[in-house]
Symmetry: C2
Subunit: 575 residues, 2 copies
C-alpha cells in the first residue's frame, strides 16, 4: 500500500494524558486515535496489527479444539440477576433499556450468556467437553482510564468458556489452555509469567494471570528466586520463621510508658527493639457494620484481599473510621488486641441482628515470644504478651502481605516483587454459574442431570498490542515482531527513484510480501524518521545513488546493506 | 471437524415466531440461536458462514482500495447532537450513560464517528479520496423483529465511508462501489438489483439499494420490462399519458347529484365513468399543524414519501384527522379542491406563526380534460373542472404512487412491481455531514479549507446470510454456495466404516479441504437428513458395502457415484 493513500498520519507532537511509550508511539504513528477517554479508534495501520494478533489467537485456540462463535453485545439483564452479578462484578456494569422496557447489560464478560446458550441444548456426557469462544467488544465502566490501550473502557476480548462433566476433565483443559496461552504470547513476542491470582469477581476458586514483567504494569506479584513460586500480591504467601525461639515466655506486665510514645516508630525508639516485637491492630468495617480487628506482627501489613477471602466478605471491607473506633470505645493508636465491644449496640445494615466485633489473628503472632503492646493506653502498655496464653482470637489465618525479600512458602528461596501487565487470564469457575443458573445441566452416563463444571479464559487484544509496543521499541519508535507487523516491508523512495521503487514494490507484492511504500514527496529525513516510528521489521530504500539496487536495513539493526531486489526478498522472507 | 464435538445440534422441531425458511433452517441446523427477540447467537457453524461472508466482502473492499479500521461501539452523544440526528434517525437510537455522566449512543450507523476521526487529521487535497470501513455491531431499537436474521435489533454491518474533494471525484467512487457490490453479492450466490431509493434518515440526496427479489421481502420496488428502470416504491415515477386529449374543455357547472353518492365507487357508478375522471383530495397534517391537501387523479394514490420530499418535511406528515377537517370547515368525503382555510386560526406547534392550508397538485391533474368533482357537497358536485383554468395550486409536483403495469418514466416499457430483501445500500451524502460538523474540512489546491464531499456504503452480514438461505434451499434444507459453505464436505460414516472414514477424513484435511465428519452413532437416516439440513455442497458416505471407496453426491443433485478418495477429492475441488 502506498503511504500517501493510507488513512492515518504520523505526528511529532507528544501526546498528553499518559507517558506510556505505547500510547505515545501508537498515537503518533497513526495506529490509534482517541475518541473519548478510554475509547479508541483503531486506524487502518493499527487494525492490521489487531487483526494479526486475533488471527494468531484464533489459530491456536482452534488447534486446541476450541470453537469460535459470537454472543450478542447486549445481554438480557435478567441473566446477570440470575447470578447476582448486577452489583458484584468488580467493575461498573453499563446498562441500557430499550423502547419496550427491556433491560440489558453491555457485556463485560459473557459467562451468563454462554451458559444461557448452552442450556438451550440437551447435552449428554458424550457431547462434553467443549470450549466455545468469541472475539467481542467488552465494556468496563472504569473510573479511571490510563491513556492508551492498557486500561480502557471498551475493547476486544477473546473470551473462551469450557464445559466439562467433572473437575478432573476440566483440569486437562485448564492445563491445555495454559500451554496454548504461553504459545500465543510467545508467537506475539511476549514472555509471560503464569501468576496464581485472586479469582475476584468472576466466581470460582482459583485462576492464573499471564503477566508480562513491566515497571509500569498495574499488577504486583512475587516470584521466588528459583522461579517455582509465582503469585499475585493479593494472595501471595510466604514462610514465617520464629523470631526469638530461644526466649522463654515471661510474665505479662502492664507498665508505665512515656506520653510521647504514639506510633510504631516511637515504640521502636522507646524500647530499642525492631517492629517485629510489637503487636499491631488494624481495624476494618464490613458492609453489615461489623468491626474486624486484625492483630498482626508489627513489621507486617495486612493483606485486605486475603482477609476478605478468609471472612468470605469479598469486596465488602473498608478501613474503619474514627466513628467506628468510638463505637467500640477506643480511638486511633489505642486499639487493644482484646476486649473491644460495641459501647451501644449497632444494628447490622441489612441483616436482622446486632453488629459484632470480630478479632482475627495473623499466623505471625505465633512467631514471637514476649510481644510488646496489645493494651496500649496513653501512658501505659502491656509487655511480655504471648499469643495463645494471654489472648486468643476466634479466627487464625494468613492475612499478611508478602514483601520483597521474604521467604518463599516452602522456605527454599527468596521472593522478588515484580510489576507486570496482565495480558491474559484463565479461571476455574467450577459449579459457580451452573449452580446459580437454572437447567445448566447435562445428562451424565448414569442418566442423571448434573451441573456443568466450567472454566473460562480471556485475552485482551488491545492491551496485548500495547504491551508488545512496551516491550519492543527504541527511542525512535516501535520495533514490531514479524508475526504481527502491519507490513513486512517499509519501502522508501527518495526523489528520482520512483520508477525503481515501483518495480521493487510490484516485485515484492507479486511475491506475497506486504509492503508499505512511502511514496510522498517528503524529505529523506522525515521518511526515515517515520519508518523508525512505524516499526516495520524490514526497511528498503531506493535512491538514484544505488541505481536499481536497494538499501536493506532491519528495523532493530544499525547496519544497512545494498542488495538486488532478489537478495532483499530473501532477507525479508528468511531473515 | 467431528460433528460429535461440534457445539450446536440439529433439531426437528419447527421454530415459532416466523415462517421464513431461513429462520427455520438456520435455527434447526444449529447455525444460530435466539437470545431474546431480534438478538442472536451465531453458533460455531453459523459463525463460519458469517466469517466467510465477511472475508469476501473485505477482499473486494480492499481490492477497491478501501481501508478497514474500527470505531468504538459507544458514540459520544454530542456527535449525534452536532448533526441533529438524536431524534431523526429513522430508528430508535439506544442511549447509555456512564458512571461519570457521559452520554453515549449505541452505534446505529457511524457517519458522525467517521467524520470525527477524519477531522482529527489535517488533510489536504493530496490525501483525498479515501474510503474507510469497518465491520462492527450495529444497534437498531426496532419496534418489531421479524424472527430470524432478516430484521434484527443487533447485527454486524460492513459500513464504509468515503471522503472526496468534490462531487465529480465522489461519483467515481460511487460507481466503483456499485460494481464492487455486484461482485460481492455475485460471489455470495445472490443476484441483486440496484434499486434507486429514498435517502431516508442518512441525509444526502440519492442512494441505491441492492435488492434480492423475494416474495417475502420488505422492500417494494418497480422494474421496467426492459430492465432499464429500477426504482423503490418510495420514489418510483412513471409516465402519465393524456387520458382524453381529443376532448375540449367544457364550461364548469355545479350540478345536482343523488344523496347516495359518497365514495369514489359511488361516483363511478353514478356517472358511468372510470376513476381517472374524478378529482380526489387527500389530506395530511404536518408536525407544525399545517394542513396539506393533495389533489390527484381519482385512479391514483398519493405517495407520502414523495410528498414529504417535495415539501421538505421528511417524516413529518400524518393523515389528517376528523378534527383537522373540522378545523378547515369540512368533513371526510367532502374536502374541496380549493378554498379551504382555517375556520379559527391555529398556532404552529413550535414556530411563531399561524398554521396554513397548503394545496398540492399532482401532475396527473394535467392529463384529464373536464374532471368531475372538486367541490362536492351532499347533493351537488362540480363537473367539467379543468386544472389551470378553474383552479391552480401553489405547488405542482409528482406525488403519485407507481403501480404495477404503469408506463416506465420514458414511456418505452411497462413497470412490474417486485418485492425484495435489501442486502446492501450505497448513499451519496454530499456535504450533509461535513457542513453540520465543525472543522470537517480539508485544504484544497487553492489553499482554502473546504468541506469533504462524502458517500457511505453498507452491507448487513446476518441479513445477507439469511437471504442466501432464502434463495438456496430445497424442502430438505440449505444448499450453501461453495464460496461460503461452513465446510466443503459433509462426511458420513455408517456403522462399521469408521476406519475408512478416518482415512478419508485425514486425506481430505491434508489436502486442505474443510470436512465435517458425522461420526455419531446415529441411524443412517438421521445422518442423511442432517446432511441435507446443514447443506454442505458435497456429501461423502463411507459404508462397509463400498469397502474403501466413497459414495459422492453433490447437495443439489439426486444422483450419487462411488469413487476412490482421490477421485472424490477431484470432484470436490474441481466440481
Amino acid at each position: 500500500m502506498k503511504y500517501s493513500q493510507l488513512f492515518g498520519k504520523t505526528s511529532k507532537t507528544k501526546i498528553g494524558g499518559s507517558d506510556l511509550i505505547s500510547h505515545q508511539y501508537l498515537t503518533r504513528g497513526g495506529f490509534i486515535a482517541e475518541s473519548v477517554a478510554g475509547r479508541y479508534f483503531f486506524l487502518p495501520l493499527g487494525w492490521r496489527v489487531h487483526e494479526k494478533i486475533k488471527a494468531i489467537i484464533a489459530e491456536e485456540m482452534n488447534a486446541a479444539g476450541a470453537q469460535e462463535m459470537i454472543t450478542p453485545v447486549l445481554h438480557p439483564l435478567e441473566l446477570w440477576q440470575e447470578t447476582n452479578r448486577t452489583n458484584t462484578t468488580g467493575f461498573e456494569l453499563m446498562q441500557v433499556t430499550d423502547r419496550r422496557g427491556g433491560k440489558f447489560a453491555l457485556g463485560g464478560t459473557a459467562e451468563e450468556m454462554m451458559v444461557d446458550v448452552v442450556r438451550k441444548f440437551q447435552h449428554t456426557y458424550k457431547d462434553l467437553p467443549f470450549n466455545i469462544y468469541q472475539f467481542s467488544t467488552k465494556f468496563r465502566d472504569e473510573a479511571r482510564a490510563r491513556g492508551g490501550l492498557l486500561r480502557v473502557r471498551e475493547f476486544t476480548m477473546k473470551d473462551a468458556y469450557s464445559f466439562h462433566p467433572n473437575e478432573e476433565n476440566f483440569k486437562l483443559e485448564y492445563q491445555k489452555m495454559s500451554e496454548v496461552y504461553h504459545r500465543i504470547f510467545e508467537r506475539l513476542g511476549l514472555k509471560t509469567l503464569k501468576v496464581e491470582a485472586d479469582n475476584g469477581y468472576i466466581g470460582g476458586e482459583y485462576c492464573h494471570e499471564f503477566q508480562v514483567v513491566h515497571p509500569k504494569g498495574e499488577g504486583r506479584f512475587f516470584v521466588s528466586e528459583d522461579n517455582k513460586y509465582v503469585s499475585h500480591e493479593d494472595i501471595a504467601t510466604f514462610q514465617l520463621k520464629p523470631i526469638n525461639p530461644e526466649e522463654t515466655p515471661a510474665k505479662i506486665e502492664f507498665i508505665e510508658q512515656p506520653k510521647w510514645v504514639k506510633t510504631m516508630e516511637d515504640n521502636q525508639k522507646n524500647y530499642q527493639k525492631p517492629a517485629q516485637f510489637f503487636l499491631k491492630n488494624v481495624v476494618y468495617r464490613s458492609e453489615q457494620g461489623d468491626i474486624i480487628i486484625v492483630t498482626i506482627r508489627g513489621d507486617l501489613e495486612v493483606n485486605k484481599i486475603k482477609l476478605e477471602r478468609v471472612l468470605n466478605l469479598v469486596g465488602q471491607l473498608e478501613e474503619a473510621t474514627v466513628e467506628d473506633l468510638t463505637a467500640i470505645g477506643t480511638q486511633p493508636g489505642y486499639v487493644h488486641s482484646w476486649g473491644h465491644k460495641f459501647v451501644t449496640p449497632r444494628k447490622a445494615a441489612s441483616e436482622n441482628r446486632d453488629c459484632r466485633v470480630i478479632y482475627v489473628a495473623d499466623y505471625s503472632l505465633k512467631t514471637v515470644t514476649n510481644f510488646i503492646g496489645g493494651q496500649k493506653e496513653e501512658t501505659t502498655d502491656s509487655i511480655n504478651v504471648n499469643y495463645g496464653r494471654d489472648f486468643t482470637h476466634e479466627i487464625e489465618a494468613d492475612v499478611a502481605l508478602a514483601q520483597d525479600g521474604f521467604l518463599s512458602p516452602d522456605g527454599s528461596s527468596v521472593l522478588r516483587e515484580e510489576r507486570g501487565i496482565e495480558v491474559g487470564n484463565i479461571f476455574q469457575l467450577g459449579y459457580h454459574y451452573s449452580n446459580l443458573m437454572k437447567n445448566a445441566t447435562f445428562i451424565d452416563s448414569d442418566g442423571k442431570a448434573k451441573p456443568y463444571y466450567m472454566g473460562c479464559y480471556g485475552i485482551g487484544l488491545g492491551r496485548t498490542m500495547a504491551t508488545i509496543v512496551e516491550k519492543h521499541h527504541d527511542d525512535a519508535g516501535i520495533i514490531w515482531p514479524k508475526t504481527i507487523a502491519p507490513f513486512a516491508v517499509h519501502l522508501i523512495s527518495l526523489n528520482g527513484a520512483e520508477e525503481v521503487a515501483q518495480e521493487v514494490y510490484d516485485y515484492l507484492i507479486n511475491n506475497n510480501v506486504e509492503v508499505l511504500w512511502d511514496d510522498r514527496s517528503e524529505s529523506a529525513g522525515r521518511k526515515f524518521a517515520d519508518a523508525d516510528l512505524l516499526g516495520m521489521p524490514n526497511r528498503l530504500v531506493v535512491s538514484p545513488r544505488n541505481e536499481r539496487r536497494v538499501e536493506y536495513k532491519a528495523r532493530q539493526s544499525q547496519e544497512s546493506v545494498v542488495l538486488s531486489k532478489e537478495e532483499a526478498l530473501e532477507k525479508i522472507v528468511y531473515g
